[in-house]
């Protein structure tokens, strides 16, 4: 093992992340090289110093209380018991029910307001996320984790890693070649990304299970075209720098083949 390699692997070694074979090799190297051993020691000390001295910021108690209160308690609790709070004040229970009632009221209002806030933004957030994923993959040249033009390779690869099995269509006859697939994380869930190619343009097709069956208006963001549709329980988001007409064609073909 060269010194460069040893130096590079020391981090994984002190973090306990090196595989057993390399660990043995590195330890043999350490036994023979006091200077690398000393470097390893310093690295351990540094890691220990960070663990010991870096601030761990615990959340303020009021924040956790506020967030707990903002989590929707749901309408059914409220509907089951609301009448109790309207009862005449004769019962013993009233005194402790009153704070509970106002708490529930605040929670309900927060919930309703939060719903109003979140619903319309959901699409926008997903748009941003799929766009970011597409751009990131293109910039880093990491467009796919499994490279294959064969739908029967890509589909099982994705199915093995997801809780659902995304449909993978072969559209090469129409000039849209499948080049591979990857995984990503959109809207806080793992999703499948199928990567197709038209000339020099990559098309990312994001797929995940949805309930609603609807087709949305196409979007354009920062020079990228975006198409969305849902079919057979799967939502599809298409992102590409391909022109609008061709991407439309692609979306139609894809929907027909799904």
């Amino acid at each position: 093992m060269t010194r460069e390699e040893a130096n590079r692997l020391l981090h994984a070694y002190i973090d306990g992340e090196l595989d057993p074979a390399k660990t043995l090799e590195l330890e043999a190297h350490l036994a023979e090289n006091p200077s690398v051993r000393a470097a390893c020691e310093r690295l351990r000390e540094m890691s220990a110093a960070i663990r010991d001295k870096a601030d761990y910021h615990a959340a303020p108690a009021w924040l956790e209380a506020r967030v707990r209160a903002a989590i929707p308690s749901g309408p059914e609790n409220v509907s089951a018991r609301w009448w109790r709070w309207l009862k005449p004040a004769g019962a013993v229970a009233t005194d402790w029910l009153r704070p509970a009632a106002s708490f529930a009221a605040v929670a309900l209002v927060t919930w309703v307001v939060a719903l109003g806030y979140m619903r319309p933004n959901e699409d926008e957030r997903i748009t941003q996320e799929v766009l970011a994923s597409h751009v990131r993959a293109t910039l880093s040249n990491r467009s796919y984790d499994v490279a294959s033009s064969d739908q029967h390779t890509v589909k099982p690869w994705l199915s093995a890693r997801l809780a659902f099995s995304p449909p993978v269509a072969d559209l090469s006859a129409s000039g849209f070649d499948l080049v591979g697939g990857r995984l990503d994380y959109i809207g806080a869930q793992p999703v499948a990304v199928l990567v197709y190619k038209r000339r020099a343009h990559l098309i990312d097709v994001f797929v995940w299970p949805v309930e609603a069956q609807k087709t949305e208006q196409p979007l354009a963001r920062d020079g990228f075209n975006i198409e969305r549709f849902a079919k057979n329980g799967m939502g599809f988001w298409l992102v590409s720098d391909l022109n609008r007409n061709e991407l439309d064609d692609f979306a139609r073909l894809l929907a027909a083949a799904t």
Binding site: L9, A39, K53, R125, L139, A188, Q189, P190
Partner: protein, 205 residues
């Protein structure tokens, strides 16, 4: 980056599909909330710590965490495997959304493939003897690290997460986690005043 000659544990593992608890079939809203409180809220401090280190101030960290936890509740059914890394990945996403809205200039270069690192000798372990680290200086130095190195370091050293979990949270390959940690420690040592040849070794070519 290291995919061809994997030397790290779990580097080539497939992404597992694990269920924590099966989602109960007839769960009422309040039962769902209780389950969320039991599984996810114990990690509230971890969420806050990450948000605080990413935003570098209390006020913004509070906003990011609140948004993240409510988002986590909405996507609670998507929870697979352990709750802490899952929650932290949502915190990180919420942070990126917040960053885009509030500090768009800072997003330049973050998660950018071009600055992805090839591990070099430069990232070797020539770090300063740690006993010399002053608490305040150390905290300032960590806060001064570029985002992607800071988050890797915090997740590793303060949350004690595996490379595999960090890779999933930060959405990069495991090999990249290793090179980011190496670079983070290197930068930290430099900003704390260590020089590359402090150990008497030769300066890099």
């Amino acid at each position: 980056m290291l995919a061809t000659d994997s030397v790290l544990l779990h580097e080539t593992d497939p992404v597992p599909v694990r269920e924590t608890d099966p989602v109960p079939l007839h769960e009422t809203v309040s039962e769902r909330k209780r389950r969320f409180e039991r599984l996810v809220l114990p990690h509230f401090d971890a969420a806050y710590n990450l948000a605080r280190w990413l935003t570098r101030n209390d006020h913004d960290a509070q906003d990011v965490v609140q948004e993240a936890v409510l988002r986590a509740y909405r996507f609670f059914d998507g929870l697979r495997g352990e709750a802490r890394p899952w929650l932290l990945s949502i915190v990180r996403n919420s942070f990126l959304t917040w960053l885009q809205a509030n500090r768009p200039a800072d997003t330049v270069g973050f998660d950018d493939g071009f600055i992805e690192l090839i591990p070099t000798d430069e990232d070797g372990p020539d770090v300063l003897a740690a006993r010399n680290f002053d608490r305040k200086m150390l905290n300032e130095a960590i806060a001064g690290l570029p985002l992607q190195f800071r988050e890797a370091l915090i997740l590793r050293e303060l949350e004690d997460l595996s490379y595999k979990d960090i890779a999933r949270i930060t959405d990069v390959p495991i090999g990249t986690v290793m090179s980011r940690l190496a670079r983070a420690r290197r930068l930290l040592a430099e900003s704390l005043g260590a020089t590359p040849n402090i150990s008497g070794k030769q300066v890099h070519k």
